[in-house]
């Protein structure tokens, strides 16, 4: 019987759960697949409805979590096997070789500068805008701020064809190409699953030309482009010519509320984040024209409806109720025509410089396997399913395993944080109940 808690996923939801449990005195292990914690929120520019700088409010939490005396953060790690039950889960974790000694690395970036592949690998942390090296720090505010070597790209690790310039450049001798994956087996009393989501790939929705037309991008790409720490330093640029877009169309519900590809649900946040995106474009340059094509405006949270109103009144956002039929491209200017229907007037088109697709939130591809490893249920879309949606929303179908955040359904930051806290409380509750203690800390 142990009271230690395992949290799978180091996004804002997992971080909140870790902090709450750590503060209560529980030993917490956090397993994060990526080289840095922070999840999706760490990559956003601003958050609605307050337009706070996302990383500014998250970074302190990331650092607190990482340095918390009761929280042990494992990055580049995945849960491979789970057995046992509440109070005595036996968990096997694979801590993948980082090829950089976390204790020695100071995050000085010398290895990145030395890497022969510098500038040659599309940067997935910037949604493919910009490039990175094989030895790199994922993003500026990464926690831990420690380099990682990409084993799939590194010339030495893949072909032994590199003079290991990075190792030479590292003054601390932190780079270790002999590092091996580490298998850790440990007992935990409870598990919280908070692995988050990914964005739907809109290239299958061929009528919108994503992947075919340079200036059709999806919302996460937009976030990186408008982000001051992103690949363009916060300057919105068109992929085709690097020019600043002056007319931007945002198309809502791309892949969401759509029976064709198995995502019939509303993603609940896109009306808000598109408004935020449009506001940001306007804040950067107030001659930007923003058009949001929506199916229904769903602004149900505190301050949300007011936010939309502000968008329309103060930022000049034009809200158009239509799902465009298709997007066509001017082969010369690479401008885009958004074709939509105005009831009573017929079909018309709007010429814009850039189109941003507000793509659906879909379960993380690792969720399926994780559900099998944990032996818990997912719903028809692949989101983790609560044992009782109404009365036990944080409990998975297995006792002692809790689910929280956007791996359970699409949700915004507020809800993810709320759920992280709620899952932490549920874990604390069952563990103290299981050990007969009244309370801890």
């Amino acid at each position: 019987m142990t009271e230690d808690v395992l949290i799978i996923g180091g996004g804002v939801c997992g971080i909140q759960a870790a902090l709450d449990l750590g503060d209560k005195g529980f030993n917490v292990w956090m397993v994060e697949k990526e080289p840095s914690i922070g999840g999706r929120m760490a990559l956003l520019d601003k958050v609605f409805p307050t337009n706070d700088c996302s990383i500014c409010i998250l970074a302190p939490k990331m650092i607190t979590c990482f340095n918390h005396p009761k929280v042990n953060v494992l990055t580049c790690s995945e849960v491979e096997k789970v057995s046992g039950s509440l109070g005595e889960f036996e968990v096997t974790i694979r801590k993948k070789a980082r090829y950089v000694d976390e204790k020695k690395c100071t995050g000085c970036d010398a290895c990145t500068q030395a890497c022969v592949l510098k500038g040659k690998i599309p940067d997935e942390w910037n949604e493919g805008f910009g490039t990175r090296a094989a030895a790199y720090i994922p993003f500026m505010q990464a926690v831990p701020r420690v380099a990682v070597i990409d084993p799939e790209k590194c010339l030495y690790l893949t072909k032994k064809k590199c003079k290991k310039e990075c190792a030479e450049a590292c003054q601390r001798g932190a780079i270790d190409f002999d590092m091996k994956d580490e298998i850790i087996t440990r007992k935990f009393g409870a598990i919280i699953v908070a692995v988050g989501l990914v964005m739907f790939d809109p290239s299958g929705i061929t009528e919108y030309g994503y992947g075919r037309f340079h200036n059709v991008i999806q919302s996460m790409e937009y976030e990186r482009l408008i982000n001051a720490s992103g690949p363009t330093g916060g300057h919105l640029k068109r992929r085709s010519d690097g020019e600043r877009p002056k007319r931007i169309a945002y198309i809502q519900c791309v892949g969401a509320r759509d029976l064709r590809n198995g995502h019939p649900y509303c993603c609940s946040v896109c009306c808000m984040y598109a408004t935020k995106d449009a506001m940001l474009a306007y804040m950067h340059h107030d001659d930007t024209e923003n058009y949001i094509f929506y199916t229904d405006l769903r602004a149900f949270g505190r301050g949300f409806d007011e936010y939309i109103r502000r968008g329309a009144q103060e930022y000049g956002i034009k809200y158009i109720r239509a799902r465009p039929g298709e997007i066509t491209e001017d082969s010369v200017t690479k401008n885009l025509y958004v074709w939509y229907d105005v009831p009573g007037q017929g079909v018309t088109n709007l010429e814009v410089d850039m189109v941003v697709l507000s793509t659906a939130f879909v379960p993380h591809p690792s969720s399926k396997k994780l559900a099998e490893v944990l032996g818990i249920h997912t719903d028809e879309y692949g989101f983790f399913k609560a044992s009782d949606d109404l009365l036990a929303p944080m409990d998975s179908s297995a006792p002692g395993i809790f689910i929280a955040g956007a791996c359970t359904r699409p949700m915004d930051v507020t809800d993810a944080v709320t759920q992280g806290g709620a899952a932490a409380d549920r874990a604390a509750q069952v563990l103290t109940g299981a050990t007969g203690k009244v309370s801890v800390a």
């Binding site: 061929t206 009528e207 519900c253 509320r257 759509d258 029976l259 064709r260 199916t295 229904d296 109720r321 239509a322 799902r323 465009p324 039929g325 298709e326 066509t328 491209e329 074709w339 939509y340 229907d341 009831p343 007037q345 017929g346 079909v347």
Partner: protein, 533 residues
């Protein structure tokens, strides 16, 4: 041949200035002629469309005479020559239908040639008495299939899921040109229970049922089916849109549902093509020719290349070691009847076709026409019990042939081509790869895609032979422009109807710079056959 009591019924379309005046002259001169004729006055024999003639036969006429002015006498310069050309073409149709071309005559009769008119009527009456009555069952066909309840259509097509987002209308090539047609507003009206407004709206005949709206509809509202089913009730209310060629095509399709008919439609076969009339084993394949020989005549002015598709298909099958089954009395598949709101005739045709296929012991059917393919694959099982025939499009068979090595394409055809996805083959049945694979297997062919391809392909502008007008033409011209702008020298399709529509567009006034749209149009079978040698 016929029993002695048979009195033929003859319709004589007579031009106002000559033939009708000739009939008057015969009357006042007391010239005797058989009472079997009913004379219909038209202003000019050039007004007599094939649809008039076919309609007369469909309604039970045993013979038809078209009477006009002597050549060079036409009061409208050349209406009579036009009539002659049309009559000759219609004779070919009658010949294929098995009615025989001799039932239809054209005669130049002057206003003072009452005697000649009388002789003509007499001659035809005698001839008809020899060859017997029109074999078609006569009279108006009763509708045996009732229209679905409007409620049921809404439920069956998931129209109730519509959130009125307008993506359908914004995707529709017709709506873009005709603001009176909007899938969104049509469904909205339907959901507001404005049943009769929907059914009597001319707009529902504008729909191409091309399926681009339902391909893109996030809620899977099946608008093509909605239109197909709504047109049934609309037809019973007397609406029918604007049938192409004034309904001549529908006429012969309806005739094919008749019991008495015995067609002779294999006259196009050329020497060297191997066919048989009955399957000898379960592996034998029937090639369903469909309406191709008829289109060759009905669309003769635009060189439709329809019969060539049939010849090429048989030749390709032969080269693969297949001797296909072809039936001389094969009926229309019923597609156009079904989609123009006439399920009764569709069902009659489906039953007849299935019967003929069963009689010939055929278990597998291959078609060059995607519409026939959709009909047999998707719609026959809806109306026929025990329909277990394997149906495939010729491009699927060819694609298999390439894999198995049965089809070898050796001759180089150096051309840059682009491909038109037919809506039935692509969006409705999901076959995008097979034709591309076949085309790519031809040595020397370079494939380029248009902006709209695969599921986004734009329809060739007309469907089920209704409402071919300015909107259709505009869609076709735009599509041709798109094809041309790829830099390709050839637009290839795998649908005989697409080919007709594009060739039709190119044959007329285009209202645009011809250089921007002029492109060679071909059916995929033609290219494949060429590459065989």
């Amino acid at each position: 041949m016929a029993d002695g009591n048979f009195e033929p019924r003859i319709i004589a379309f007579s031009c106002n200035w000559c033939a009708y005046a000739g009939a008057d002259f015969a009357g006042v001169s007391r010239i005797q002629y058989p009472p079997n004729v009913k004379i219909l006055r038209v202003m000019c024999s050039g007004r007599v469309e094939p649809s008039f003639i076919l309609r007369a036969f469909e309604k039970g006429a045993d013979g038809v005479i078209v009477g006009g002015c002597h050549e060079a006498d036409c009061h409208y310069i050349s209406g009579n020559l036009r009539a002659k050309e049309r009559v000759e073409a219609t004779q070919q149709i009658l010949e294929m239908l098995g009615l025989g071309s001799e039932r239809l005559r054209i005669k130049w009769i002057n206003a003072n040639e009452g005697e000649a008119l009388a002789r003509e009527i007499e001659e035809l009456t005698v001839k008809l008495k020899q060859i017997g009555p029109n074999p078609l069952s006569t009279g108006t066909r009763e509708d045996t299939v009732a229209a679905l309840e409007f409620e049921d259509i809404l439920n069956a097509t998931d129209a109730r899921l519509c959130v009125e987002c307008g993506k359908c209308t914004a995707s529709c090539p017709v709506s873009r040109r005709n603001p009176d047609f909007s899938p969104r507003l049509t469904v909205e009206m339907a959901l507001e229970n404005l049943e009769s407004e929907v059914e009597t709206s001319p707009a529902i005949w504008e729909c191409l049922t091309c399926g681009i709206c339902e391909e893109r509809c996030p809620y899977n509202v099946r608008f093509s089916d909605f239109i197909k089913d709504t047109r049934v009730e609309a037809r019973s209310l007397g609406r029918k849109g604007n049938p192409v060629q004034a309904g001549a095509i529908f006429s012969w399709m309806r005739m094919m549902a008749s019991n008495g008919l015995k067609q002779r439609k294999l006259g196009w076969l050329e020497d060297g093509l191997q066919i048989k009339h009955e399957a000898e084993s379960d592996d034998d394949i029937m090639f369903f020719v469909g309406c191709l020989p008829y289109y060759e005549v009905s669309h003769r002015q635009i060189m439709p290349g329809s019969v060539q598709i049939a010849r090429d298909s048989v030749a390709i099958l032969n080269s693969m070691g297949i001797t296909p089954v072809l039936l001389p009395d094969e009926r229309c598949c019923g597609h156009d009847m079904l989609y123009s709101g006439n399920p009764s005739v569709f069902e009659a045709l489906a039953i007849k076709t299935a019967e003929a296929i069963r009689k010939a012991n055929v278990k597998r059917v291959v078609l060059s026409c995607p519409e026939g393919y959709l009909t047999m694959k998707h719609h026959y099982p809806q109306v026929l019990d025990g329909w277990d025939v394997e149906v495939m499009h010729i491009t699927e068979l060819l694609s298999e042939g390439i894999d198995s090595g049965r089809l070898t394409l050796n001759k180089e055809i150096s051309a840059k081509i682009t491909y038109q996805d037919p809506c039935r083959l692509g969006r409705r049945l999901g076959i995008y790869q097979a034709p591309r694979k076949v085309l790519s297997a031809i040595p020397g062919i370079e494939m380029v895609e248009m902006n709209h391809y695969g599921p986004d392909a734009i329809c060739s502008g007309v469907s089920s032979w209704v409402n071919c007008g300015n909107v259709s033409r505009s869609i076709q011209i735009e599509r041709l422009r798109e094809a041309k702008s790829t830099g390709a020298s050839m637009l290839v399709t795998s649908c005989p109807k697409c080919l007709i529509h594009f060739r039709c567009a190119l044959s007329g006034k285009t209202g645009t710079d011809r250089d921007e749209i002029q492109i060679e149009t071909r059916d995929i079978t033609g290219l494949v056959r060429e590459a065989l040698i």
